[in-house]
Amino acid sequence: MIQLRDIYKSFGGTPVIKGATLDVKEGETLAVIGRSGSGKSVLMKHMIGLLKPDSGYVLVDGVDINKLAYHELQKLRRNFGVLFQGGALFDSMNSFDNVAFPLRSFSKKSEADIKRDVLECLDMVELPDVGPKFPPELSGGMQKRVALARAIAMRPRYIMYDEPTSGLDPETSNVIDQMIKSLAVRLNVTSVVVTHDMHSVLTTADRVAFINEGRIWWVGSIPDLHECADDTLINFVRANEYQIGAGGASGNRPHQSVVPRQTN
């Protein structure tokens, strides 16, 4: 369980987060939505202590992570898998070594076991053959999937996805969404999906938090979202639906309804 309590954060005098309180419940998938630049990534980085709030606190499993000694924070972070917005693959290593990196750093597994784990992770993201390729040789979508393989390599309890589907074609987006869903079930993880793709939200999330003007403007379940009467949120969702209708970059998912849900 992750709890944000009254978080304030500004950069160089410009406030970005102005009092955010939010819970991520054990086992759920929470989507964090909001306009570009609204502070979604900033909020996510607070959850793993990559950014420290100016005031307010962050509790993970009841522990204030900003009061931890650095080595304790490091230990706690090993429970997290993070998919960064641009993938953040290490470009000095090939895909295989990227996925193997956390395993080699932290597990005492033999190289043979690591190899098996890495191939399994790459299989999960449906890229079994990219091991020898370096990140610059991969397309943006493939980079994201390799980064996802790296994020799940250590079997984390929490997975944070920063814009997992942005810049991807609809089909790949569907694959990623299904992956988020099935990981949530198979690995029993708690997930935070930062996105402005409503399709993704409706497919993956149990609950939704909408950031606006530096605050958590609205939180609720997907059914609540359909009932919601808040104008700002409705406008945000409509703008997205309009994109979907108009075949906009991130929205158009013609195959959405025919893609079978994974049931394992």
């Binding site: 304030y8 005098g13 650095y70 090993r78 993070v82 960064f84 641009g86 953040a88 470009d91």
Partner: protein, 253 residues
């Protein structure tokens, strides 16, 4: 920190951040064993791969110093061996370390800042931290340690090559026979000069790698930011080399 400090305090803020980063690096030295592979890799990239360019610069500066010294000093009343006695100490005391330093501020400093800067703006540093790795221990400590170890080595290479270049040019231009050059150098050689030069190169190694790591680690603002960090790393390193040179000379000599 919600207060915005006046811009005039910027240098002090930078200095504070630099000091904090160094403190973190020193604390991470305990984990050195974990990152020994990185140290070795950096020693090759910072040290071994710099040998050709350092040798080239040293060769020419040794040769030029010899020719110019000959031009200034030679008269029928001064023995030509004085050329060796002038050239060798100036190479050992100043040229060897400073030429190496300036060259490596560009070659090593800029590269470190570009690497770390790119890792910062593409969130690779965040990714390291998010995995529970110590990014300072993993990225900065190996580079600084490799710099501190390899700069003295490069300094020795520079001195040897510069002196050899001096002897060679002096001999073949007929200004000073090799034997005389060496005899002059030997007569006035003070072992402390060499120790001092080694200390200098070690300090320069630290200054360049530490400043460049700092500039790279705190890069902001995309590709443009990386460009800025790279230039700043090279320029700032050069300025601080000069400053360190002066401080060392006035305290140790």
């Amino acid at each position: 920190m919600t207060v915005t400090l006046p811009r005039i305090l910027d240098p002090f803020v930078s200095l504070g951040r630099f000091a904090l980063l160094l403190a973190r690096a020193f604390r991470s030295v305990a984990e050195l064993g974990r990152y020994s592979k990185n140290i070795f890799e950096q020693m090759v990239r910072i040290g071994i791969e710099s040998i050709p360019i350092v040798a080239l610069a040293a060769l020419f500066s040794g040769a030029v110093t010899t020719v110019q010294t000959a031009h200034q000093l030679v008269s029928p009343f001064i023995p030509v061996s004085i050329i060796g006695a002038v050239v060798v100490p100036s190479v050992i005391l100043e040229l060897g370390a400073v030429v190496t330093g300036f060259l490596l501020a560009g070659r090593v400093g800029a590269r470190i800042a570009a690497e770390l800067g790119t890792m910062r703006v593409t969130e690779q540093i965040d990714a390291l931290e998010a995995m529970g790795l110590n990014s300072v221990g993993y990225l900065i400590v190996p580079r600084v340690v490799a710099g501190v170890i390899m700069f003295p080595v490069l300094y020795i290479v520079a001195c040897v090559v510069a002196i050899a270049g001096g002897i060679f040019v002096g001999h073949y231009t007929g200004e000073v026979p090799a034997g005389e050059f060496i005899a002059g150098a030997r007569e006035f050689f003070r072992p402390f000069d060499a120790v001092f030069g080694l200390i200098k190169s070690l300090v320069f190694g630290f200054v360049i790698t530490a400043i460049s790591c700092y500039k790279g680690y705190y890069t902001r603002g995309g590709a443009e930011g990386v460009g800025r960090a790279t230039t700043e790393a090279a320029v700032t390193s050069c300025v601080y080399i000069l400053l360190a040179d002066l401080i060392l000379a006035s305290t140790l000599l």
